[in-house]
Symmetry: C2
Subunit: 190 residues, 2 copies
């Protein structure tokens, strides 16, 4: 097991409804040293890919993206989940289904911050059905930017989102890939 898988086993909890709770170290309380290890790992994978921007989606992707961006020395742009009065002007927009928030929502990114010629690394904490990721990919494509790759901390491989995105020819690297998970049987990694 690698360091992410070990941490999931030691500190993660499986909840009702196919929920993997990692809120003690990843998406509510955040272990910043752990994020640093994650950032270093993503840098190992993508350091030669010409990444000039990291994009993610609020909220739990932001910390991971910012720490990872230190290794690449590039800016982060995070897609926002709703239009606020602080964003005006032209935005790229995509609809995402949410598993954790129930129902669809729009994500937006200002056209100021993503352009043709950008080579972006997409970072997120989870990949399950891939709804948030598909919406981020749409934003990048609408901007005529290129996707250098996707870096995911935890992929629920059995939910098919990763498989689908890889079938588009996009490189997706997940630090932990879960093949199966249940309260009784625990977690099986790929």
């Amino acid at each position: 097991m690698n360091f992410v898988e070990k941490r999931i086993i030691s500190d993660g909890k499986i909840g009702e409804g196919d929920v993997l709770k990692v809120d003690g170290f990843l998406n509510h309380q955040v272990d910043v040293n752990f994020l640093n290890e994650i950032g270093r790992e993503f840098y190992k994978i993508y350091s030669d890919c010409g990444v000039n921007k990291i994009i993610t989606i609020e909220a739990s992707g932001i910390g991971i993206a910012c720490i990872t961006a230190q290794f690449f020395n590039v800016p982060v742009v995070f897609a926002k989940k709703a239009k606020t009065v602080n964003i005006y002007g032209d935005v790229y927009k995509a609809k995402a289904e949410s598993y954790t928030h129930k129902g669809a929502y729009d994500i937006i990114m200002s056209k100021e911050f993503i352009h043709k010629g950008d080579r972006v690394l997409i970072i997120d904490d989870f990949l399950a059905k891939g709804n948030a990721l598909k919406a981020l990919i749409k934003l990048v494509e609408d901007a005529n930017a290129e996707i250098a790759g996707v870096g995911i901390v935890i992929e629920k491989a059995y939910q098919g989102g990763g498989e689908y995105v890889r079938s588009l020819g996009i490189k997706v690297e997940s630090l932990a890939r879960i093949a199966a998970m249940s309260i009784n049987e625990g977690i099986v990694f790929c």
Copy 2:
């Protein structure tokens, strides 16, 4: 002018409705090197205050809090804006008015991650009327934890939130304090 004030002048934009847009470097696109300077500055101010946890609120506080936490070598806990199915169990809860999102919302923090004996540093990008900050303070007080201090990147001093929180005896340090701001006259720092 310090580095935050300089950056606001060079890259910030004043919008309609008393909005200071800093989404090119702070809260949509994020300049991670700039966040590092901010983190170092907060560490200079609060390194001797026994901080064992940094707390903030999603979304735009998270990147700043995570980068700052590297200097303190402590975890971050970010309050969430709505109850998701990924959080269960007991939470502390407080209501916050939102200027940018219009209307009130609940913020929550799991009781697992804040306790009596914690000395927390509260970090956020903006302080205006102080609604988010007051809600965070309530969470910390409900947990019987102590507030070592508050670190803010940009305070709109003329909106009174900082003055109110300081009147409670809480140390609030803002890296840029705006005394007045208008589209025609620009920005005046305190």
